[in-house]
Symmetry: C2
Subunit: 176 residues, 2 copies
């Protein structure tokens, strides 16, 4: 349990029914109102399952071929695509999907192995810029080849172009 020690529920906490809580004295088993239809649960569980499988497979692949985790890869990728190959920590956090503290550690590791460098931000002395090195660029390009091939094989290749277009739109609906 616990995402963390979690002092007190930060959210409104939609009524913990407490032990034995259930709406009515339903004799046994889960009540129906909370169940999913077959299509619903197949879609949802398929979504979770597909993601989980693909994720671990691709991550192992990347790890085996280039000793890079997904976080490493996404960080390098974001920097590679960025103007001048550098980004402030704050702006790097979002694409890598890490908190600022997690990112600090990540960048520290990547710096230690020479894939990125850190420099104080020129216009704002609070900030730090992470810049990708040549070694970092070379590695992320090689890694991209591996990774994208994996993405094609495990995901893209299973759909027609029209399906992909529809999926893109559908996933877009789920965002933000």
């Amino acid at each position: 349990m616990a995402i963390h020690p979690s002092p007190i529920s930060p959210l409104p906490a939609p009524a913990d029914l407490g032990p034995l809580g259930e709406q009515e004295g339903s004799v046994c088993g889960a009540s129906d109102w909370e169940r999913l239809s077959d299509h619903e649960s197949a879609a949802w569980e398929g979504f979770l399952q597909a993601h989980a499988e693909i994720q671990v497979e691709l991550e192992h692949e990347l790890q085996a071929a280039h000793q890079l985790s997904f976080s490493d890869y996404f960080a390098l990728l974001a920097l590679d695509k960025a103007e001048r190959g550098s980004l402030r920590m704050h702006d790097l956090a979002k694409p890598v999907r890490l908190t600022r503290s997690g990112l600090t550690r990540l960048v520290e590791r990547l710096e230690r192995i020479g894939l990125i460098e850190r420099a104080p931000c020129p216009d704002d002395a609070r900030g730090t810029e992470a810049r990708i090195t040549e070694a970092g660029r070379a590695l992320v390009h090689a890694a991209s080849a591996t990774h994208l091939a994996g993405v094609r094989r495990r995901f893209l290749a299973r759909f027609s172009p029209a399906e992909l277009q529809l999926l893109a739109e559908q996933f877009g609906r789920l965002a933000g």
Copy 2:
């Protein structure tokens, strides 16, 4: 880097091109053959993004309302659905998507707070059975209400029944 200390690559390692590796002496930037089309990348990135967002939101919701992590929830759910409310560790590992060692720790925690119990397996002295308690059942039923409402709101409600059916089939293609 590193999913772990990772002694030696377990996979065949599809040719690490080494530093500066790239097919040709392309002057700069990534070569085109490894790029994704707009629809492709929108679909793939949308998939990752949607999953990440929904996942953290639902997990926080579950945590806030019932102090349960996803792992906890899935373990309890699997046990609740199981014959006699009990499963061997080995069989519980798959639905929870944890390694055996991770599961040992998880079960230990859930036992400590009285949501499940452990007993030696009657017919196989190597095995251990985890059985959900009444408190565990009550909690997982309450948690289901919260969780499924979240799934509806964040996922199911964004699609028509026909879309859900198609999605279920499509995600099924990605499995195994």
